[in-house]
Symmetry: C2
Subunit: 389 residues, 2 copies
């Protein structure tokens, strides 16, 4: 007998886990999380919380024992134990295999390139000599990347000239950590396309989102992206092909570059709901979080259609302060029509930490941009203690 | 310094409390509930749960001590202790005063009539002789109502002729409980209008919802209602005037009758989010639950506009079964585009118990009706034990 009442285990109780759980609880799922932080954002929303490190194999095994399916809110976790659990008959979505490939940017890009998907040119880097060769092949500047563990721009180094080779190699731990070089893609826009694959292979592709980063951290997402219809179609097709290649079950985010002629190429793939998909909560028929829960619990996918234009703005911890977080200006932000506020409930704020976000929807994208901008200027989340420089 | 991080206390941890909390947690509020049932729907979503009876004055006081504002998910609670708490400086929204008036249907209707708002004719009933007089005045059939404690048709008795007076009077506890008689309103449609008043007096009025009941329990809500524009305007105006009369802070639901000429009259007022407002979660810019949380925490109201047509269907416990609840057919229901499923997580099912609901949205109301109908036919929630007749 089919039943929705599965038990879901989630590795990670940050904001992505929290937003998954808010959707899962709407549908009555039993939730256990694994997160080392007791008072993490998801803590008060779960049935059980295993307080343990993300690399703790015994704790991950315990999570699997308590759950009908294990999923995760971020990709830097112990993939090996997930593979073992799958071999023992546990269900892990997205699968440990697709996670292992994605965790390593070199294997991720290699798989995509092997299937003929558009990616910037790349090569592995083992030493400074290979960096010199990359410079000759790709010209300068090019991107040096750590193959594992990077996020929000961490693990990237833009090599402007041969003089920066030694610095870059050392900065990213060359010699001890695996590195890769990537030809610089002369993008005119960064976009992302969310896509989800169900257990039976159906794929739902979301509208194209236009992203703006500050210091490599996402600042703003606008939907729909300001691109030509044929670029939109190319980006959505590319996202669908990525889902076919990885055969992953669950939400994925495909970050892409758009070139001057409207050509698109994959920048990075994340096997999970993504910051650039938060707009779906208010603006799409089915949010990325509900979609992920549907997929990992073997339910049919929902309609990813956009209801109306939306702009998401991240709220980062205010510069100059740390310590216990306080929200300032929520009244002003929420007075703007169509603005929804998400406060993650992180106990402490620090500069650039993702503390919350807001989404503005409106009948037109121009209005949504304006609403989000006014609301974003009105609100801040900051620690109560000044940071001394 | 303004802050969103208030502590909210909620009396009642059923599905309405649960859906309030899902919105409140999105915004980072600290939540304490009071509910006698440990494994009530809201239990796993809260920071603290006071397990106590709704009439327990000491427990309600404890809830108030733990909270910056106290609210409630249903109206049959101890209003006197709430009045005392207000007198001592605690904030209770909606106010104990408006709750006390609404709890008694006679005082509720009297206040509305005093302000000239359209209500069916009514009078208090203390004995069978007054019922005879009501019959002469209103003609038959007329409605006999318990002034306090009724819901989902409980506490109502339709008096078809003088011969039923003694039965009706006895059935509703006449002599010991306060009763009232109400002229039968020859309605062609039942509608409801949700409205919310903020702490500073702003009022947001939602679209008109068309309701269909089976055995006095809500079965289906369609939005927008199939009525003329001038009837829509009259209904929304009436809801706004109700909010002005009660001066309540928070979500209210005004259930109304529509007569053959499009005239509207208030049937009942509920000082809380309402079953007929569940459609707002998927279909409106601001859901009734987020709106309630905004209002009681003194934040500005959100936009109540409809994004697209919606139909809500309740999922009641399946006839013929009781005991541990199981969900059957969720896969089929969720395969219909635009369908969202809400499972309240009640441990046990019994016939007619509200176990969940589904909402279908679509570009047209006709499609939403069809989608909801197909999904509703596909899903059931039932106990694992057969009920022997």
């Amino acid at each position: 007998m089919e039943s929705i009442q599965k038990k879901i285990g989630i590795i990670g109780g940050g904001q992505l886990g929290q937003m998954m759980i808010l959707e899962a609880k709407k549908m009555g799922f039993y939730i256990t999380i694994l997160d080392p932080t007791l008072h993490c954002p998801a803590h008060t929303l779960v049935d059980e919380h295993i307080v343990a490190d993300f690399e703790d194999a015994a704790a991950i095994r315990l999570l699997a024992q308590k759950s009908d399916v294990v999923t995760y809110e971020f990709e830097h976790i112990n993939a090996q134990v997930l593979e073992e659990l799958e071999a023992e008959g546990h269900v892990v979505y997205p699968t440990a295999h697709s996670l292992a490939i994605i965790q390593n940017k070199l294997s991720q890009k290699s798989l995509l390139a092997k299937h003929g998907l558009a990616v910037p040119e790349f090569c592995p880097i083992s030493n400074e000599k290979e960096m010199e060769e990359a410079g000759l092949s790709f010209s300068y500047p090019y991107m040096l990347k750590s193959c594992t563990g990077g996020y929000d721009g961490k693990g990237n180094f833009l090599v402007h000239s041969p003089e920066e080779i030694a610095e870059g190699f050392a900065a990213l731990g060359g010699g001890s950590l695996p590195l890769m070089a990537e030809k610089f893609f002369p993008f005119v826009m960064e976009i992302s396309v969310l896509a989800c694959r169900s257990a039976n292979g159906d794929i739902a592709v979301y509208p194209v989102a236009q992203n703006h980063h500050i210091d490599s951290i996402l600042d703003e997402t606008r939907v729909p992206a300001d691109i030509r219809p044929e670029t939109t179609q190319a980006a959505m097709d590319l996202a669908r092909r990525v889902m076919e290649v990885f055969a992953g079950v669950g939400m994925f985010c495909v970050e892409m570059f758009v070139g001057p002629e409207g050509e698109v190429a994959v920048n990075e793939v994340a096997p999970r709901p993504h910051n650039s998909g938060h707009y779906t909560i208010e603006a799409c028929v089915t949010s990325q979080f509900e979609q992920h829960i549907r997929a990992v619990s073997a339910l049919p996918l929902g309609d990813p259609s956009l209801l109306r234009p939306a702009v998401m703005r991240n709220i980062l911890g205010e510069e100059g302060f740390h310590g216990p977080a306080q929200v300032i200006g929520a009244e002003k932000a929420l007075a703007i029509p169509g603005v929804t506020l998400h406060i993650y409930g992180k106990t402490d704020s620090k500069p650039k930490r993702k503390m919350g976000h807001l989404t503005a929807t409106a009948p037109t994208l121009a209005e949504a941009i304006e609403r989000a901008s006014v609301a974003h200027a009105a609100i801040r989340i900051q620690g109560t203690l000044p940071l001394h420089p």
